[in-house]
Symmetry: D3
């Protein structure tokens, strides 16, 4: 495994309890019907969250994004946000988890009468699954940085399947990931329909150019909560940050580059399409994260700790 | 339910046996892990097939399409085509089914070590599920025809998620279906990225204009086996048939229109975007299927019978 | 009639005088040649204006937009802006109108020697028509709000027919309106060529998200004067307002939505594509205009009154 | 006047009778209300036809295209095709016309209650106007050929305003024509949204390459009846003819080029974007129409004569 | 070197004579001014040709393409086709070459008064350079086949720089080639603006599917003479051949694949994006060229020999 | 000559020394091999610079852009930025130049083993050419202004050949320039792929609207150093300046327009597509540069003087 999730599997995860529609099951009994909309059709919306000191950073943003995504695809979550939060903590508490935990929260349109795409043949409420696992980012990846490769697989138009959706229909990202792996890279850099830089396949992409932090307009990526927090941290700490259209020309000439995500926070990038990530007039080899990347990484970790909470507020 | 699958659920389906990775389970015990690639990510390829006189029409085409789709997404089916066919018939035979049966055959990338999109974290062979159900098209829908509505949701570009793929990531079709339902229609008519007519959300779309049968180029739809057979039947029976680019202008001025699919064969359309389907100089109300639609429907049923088989050959 | 112009026709309008090339005619004698560029080709530019206390709000903006539009299509208005303003007031004064009046001001390329599109076969100066009518927005529509439906008909590219033009070639908007009516809605929501939200067919579209007012970039809509005034009012009253690219995902998750136009000012929206307009975490039914919509509506009415004028300044 | 309609105005046209909703009016009394959908909105569909020996060539094709266009924009013509044909001949017969006549037949959505785009505020049946004029193509233009210039104004997408429609919303063609005139040319050559060659602003465009006749796919032009007849003539006379995608590269390297239309039939082109129209290895100056252009022109004139008719049949 | 030109440099090439504007120079004295349009701007058109038995296969096609390209970019070659052919053979004859020779024929817009892009500052006739070299395709590459990788660099639109042009402005192909090399491949597979398969960076691309030979529509590649000859050979030998739109889905499921070019004729492909080139139901490893590739390769070699000529005719 | 470079050729330029790979040659001996990547393939990156009081304004920006461009196309410049600056001044000093000098600095990928596009067949370091010439903008052009014409040739997508690159592959700009010349204009105005205004063929384009300076987003033009300086001057001098998407509608209605470039600084525009450049309500003929154009021109000249330098720093 070379990907960003290239982590040792924590042996404690063999014994976790998983919440399905409010009931807790051991891992090996955590199943869904083959008639479930998620399995048959990728018809669902999900979140990933971190557990920090028994709280979840940015809890409200995650819950709001989940309900917004469900509304976008005309799906009822079926329980209130408050009930959903309770289920989340019931699950992690039952697992006696406090920290270093990654949670996958999934809501699908429920069980179908027959395997068919029309929502009108659904016969159950939404299926709600919560998987909490002990999972920490690989520290060595942070030291070394990632190798990206710009792939031919593109982000799509919002009138087809809105790339803002964090859905169970992930084939676009998966095929991008495969092509990057075929080129020997960790993660795929993906362009938007106009040929500008959009995002990575499972993370958001940032560059640092002459003291400014740039990321794409956000119109062709999942509405990243870590992404928004990075921009907020820049604004709060006097680092100019722009959401803007830019091309690979700008990327190849950047001083630093990094990716972000709920799981790993900020991870630096050391090479893109065979070009080392450093200022074009700089001949020295880059090593480790650049100064702005390092600073943002530290700020973000602090933010996660300070914003971890158990209530929707 | 107003959709094309608006059928009475056959009570016999409560007792069917479903094949999962070669083992047969009663319907209510037919489950997959919540870590399955299909459930988490819509990462799978599927087929639907009909059972006619204990055989499956166009069996080789279906099996070939399944393996081609799997290769397109860089996924191993894991067993040979011959073994897969054997599993299909083992399942329907165990159910003592002979006719009037619809089969959903699904292959996903298998179980993940952790919920993450990268194929490199998959830890099992492909998951193979076979669901056979007693299911017949609604005869009344055939009499009355369908009402279509052209939706804002588009078919996508092949460099994002190839619309030729018959995958588990179906959100594009589902949101199109929802918008058509919101407009009071049975099925959505979908345009391609250039604004030309592509397909319906779960069926293929044909018009008849001045004695010619037209369907889209096929570049923006699932590689329909029924679609190909309709074109073949036209060629074999002296009906001019064209795969071509055309727009709603051509649709609104058509003499007849119909949709096709493995499940229901050919179903006529009586109204599109509020316009009755009939020649623009014709004032009489259309009723039932037009002459070419009727002829093709009959020819197609005969073809299904004659081509039903139990071997790949 | 379900549209935004669903108003009782004021009986006083039967007796209005209409200005054609500077001469006043009773309504039933207000005619143009069948050789007029407007009739044959939709080759003209128009404005709508309101009469408030005998003055016209934003008069200079309207006149400037008219001349700018004429220049864009290489057409001479033929009289000076000052002369045109005089004609406007000559017409409303002759009608003894003071308030509650909607004015349609139209300038076409004039009469052709023969029905042909080339401007070089025009044989008269521009045709200038002014129609003033008593017309007030329907108060009930404001209470209840509008129902929008996103249609398949798109706004076009600027290199085809610039959507900024307020021209007599309106077929794009009309077919969008028809499709929305077919879906049972009041007004069509239209996407731009990239699939982002552009505008409604006869009004401009705004959403309110988490305290911010968003409208499209304006590149794919008529250069709306009410639209610009709404943004100005936001800026002047401490309400964050953004002209930005956004998609239906953002619309479905909005807190409020409204449309604007010279005729009706601001009209709230209560439903879009079957989804109620309210925050995704909010379960209560929305009723009437939201707080920011209400505030802007009030501010706009005051602005109209304060900026009504009879001189170009 | 430099355009293709650069003809002497026939003095007999001063006294023609024009049919409006079935009543005949002298030219100077032929008027429509300023509330007409055609004048206000370009909301109408039209045909041009030729009178040859008291008959109209391709009459059925023209009438069918008119009703098809009306259906496409959801407009009722209001009278039967047979009644419409009768009106056509009533008008030309009342004018005692037999030959050398060009007829403009226009159908708009009718009179509005108030100037507003929504079809739901229309209060009359369709407005039907028939203008017959003595008008012959300029023979000198045929000798000399046309000068074309490829303009920046593009043909649009079918999901905006279908370019197949022959409507009253003609601003796209008009602005293209203006830009060509600004470059000193007779007629504009227009590209499609992908940058391929589509059509001219008021005529259809053909090239001859190495013995083959090429024209565009037809997806981005009015459904030309002369265009279809040229292709038919090619097929019937052993000249290979292709409707295909091609670019300016292919045009600049063509052997011959010509434009077609109902009014002028076939008119040769002698220069495109400053390049003489002739085989790239040929140094001799081209003069007059090339051999295939001449042959098709002659064949087309014969076809018009043989297919002129007074009945729909 | 891993590319298709991965050939041993023939030592005889050190002593070749190169023709510049009709004069022969030894290789190390073959130079052009730094003010040449080719050097400064990539402003030129070129051909490559083979010498077979002292003749050049498809000589007329190459010369015609050169003059067509020059006309497309509004450039005068300055000498007649016959004079150009004479120069070609003068050069190869002076080198006493008869066979196994690759010729690069280049025509640029000539010398500039100053380094500026406007053709109006050119002060000399076209620069004509002819480089003949001993160069044979690598037989081992033919045995083994090529490894292709689909890159993010696309073929462009015809309204930007027509991909049909064989020009000196080659940066698009070069950056595609670089990205493929970065992924460890021999040659880049490139998509068109809509995401369909267009061509390779320096060769044309074909697949064989179920007995049919497919290549792209040709709208996004250099007008390949070898490409046209392959299609001609298919037609003449009963092999169905289609120029059509297709996507990577179709490529990954192909039975065979190969590339073509004047230099190497036909070269098989054994792997594309990590997928072996063979039928999806076929588990056996592919080795060497497939049967249709082999047959076409043989037929093409025979054609080259039979069509080698020294006259334009 | 009508173009922006319509200058008298300074007779002193006949005797200049040109630097090639560090050696100085008289103009008529300044040559490169016909195997050079620049000549064969347009495979190089270049800069133009001005000499002002023996210094070069914005020297660091130019050098940085050169290295950034080289990195973007995966090319090694081969010497350090400091060495390159030394070569620049060695060359101008050897020519005893101090002022009124335009310098073309070109870096190509070097000499090829054989004429082929793959960078892997390059056998020398980069070719570095420096051409300094006495060259001053034409003062009369500044007085009179330029005439622009919007052409059909478009700027391209970044995924084809990034328009930000200042490369030797200039055919796109050249064909645009030719089409403008064919229309009788000085310079071409070019649109971007979406139909919005991008840039001129050899200069950057600005408009002044109601006191604001607008230029395109910069995504479809060379990363202009003069362009950035103009925006900087606006910001520093209280003139609102926006980089934004806009269309020809906005251009035709502008108050002023001008183009910029390293060579000529700011040059006003007096006519675009036949429309005079002035406010649409203004009837007076425009003459000379408008007030904001004049002010920026003066400010820019001062900036060039103050920022001319001989060191990178």
């Amino acid at each position: 495994m070379q990907s960003i999730h290239d982590v040792k599997i924590d042996s404690r995860n063999a014994d976790i309890l998983i919440s399905i529609n409010g009931t807790l099951y051991p891992r090996n009994q955590a199943v869904v019907s083959v008639f479930d909309s998620g399995f048959i059709l990728g018809d669902g919306i999900w979140e990933c969250l971190r557990l920090v000191n028994s709280g979840i950073p940015f809890l409200r943003e995650h819950i709001e994004r989940l309900y917004e995504g469900a509304k976008a695809v005309f799906m009822e979550v079926g329980i209130t946000p408050q009930e959903l939060v309770k289920r989340l903590f019931d699950c992690v508490d039952a697992n006696k988890m406090r920290d270093g935990v990654h949670i996958r929260l999934m809501v699908t349109r429920g069980v179908k009468a027959t395997p068919y795409q029309d929502p009108r043949v659904t016969i159950s409420p939404a299926t709600i699954v919560i998987i909490p696992e002990y999972k920490e980012p690989n520290a060595q990846k942070f030291q070394q940085g990632l190798k990206l490769f710009t792939v031919n697989v593109r982000r799509g138009a919002p009138d087809v399947q809105d790339p803002k959706l964090n859905s169970h229909s992930k084939l676009n990202c998966i095929t991008a990931c495969i092509q990057a792996a075929n080129a020997g890279a960790d993660e795929a850099l993906m362009l938007d329909p106009l040929g500008f830089v959009a995002t990575c396949n499972s993370t958001h992409f940032f560059i640092v150019r002459r003291g400014e932090v740039w990321t794409s307009t956000g119109q062709y990526c999942v509405l990243g909560i870590t992404r928004v927090n990075m921009i907020r941290l820049c604004h709060d700490n006097g680092i100019p940050a722009l959401e803007k259209q830019f091309s690979l020309y700008d990327v190849y000439g950047a001083d630093e580059a990094f990716v972000t995500g709920t799981f790993a926070g900020l991870v630096p990038v050391y090479e893109i399409d065979g070009r080392p990530v450093r200022h074009p007039l700089c001949a020295d080899a880059w090593s480790g994260a650049g100064p702005i990347s390092l600073r943002l990484s530290k700020l973000y970790k602090e933010l996660c700790t300070s914003e971890a909470t158990r209530t929707l507020a």
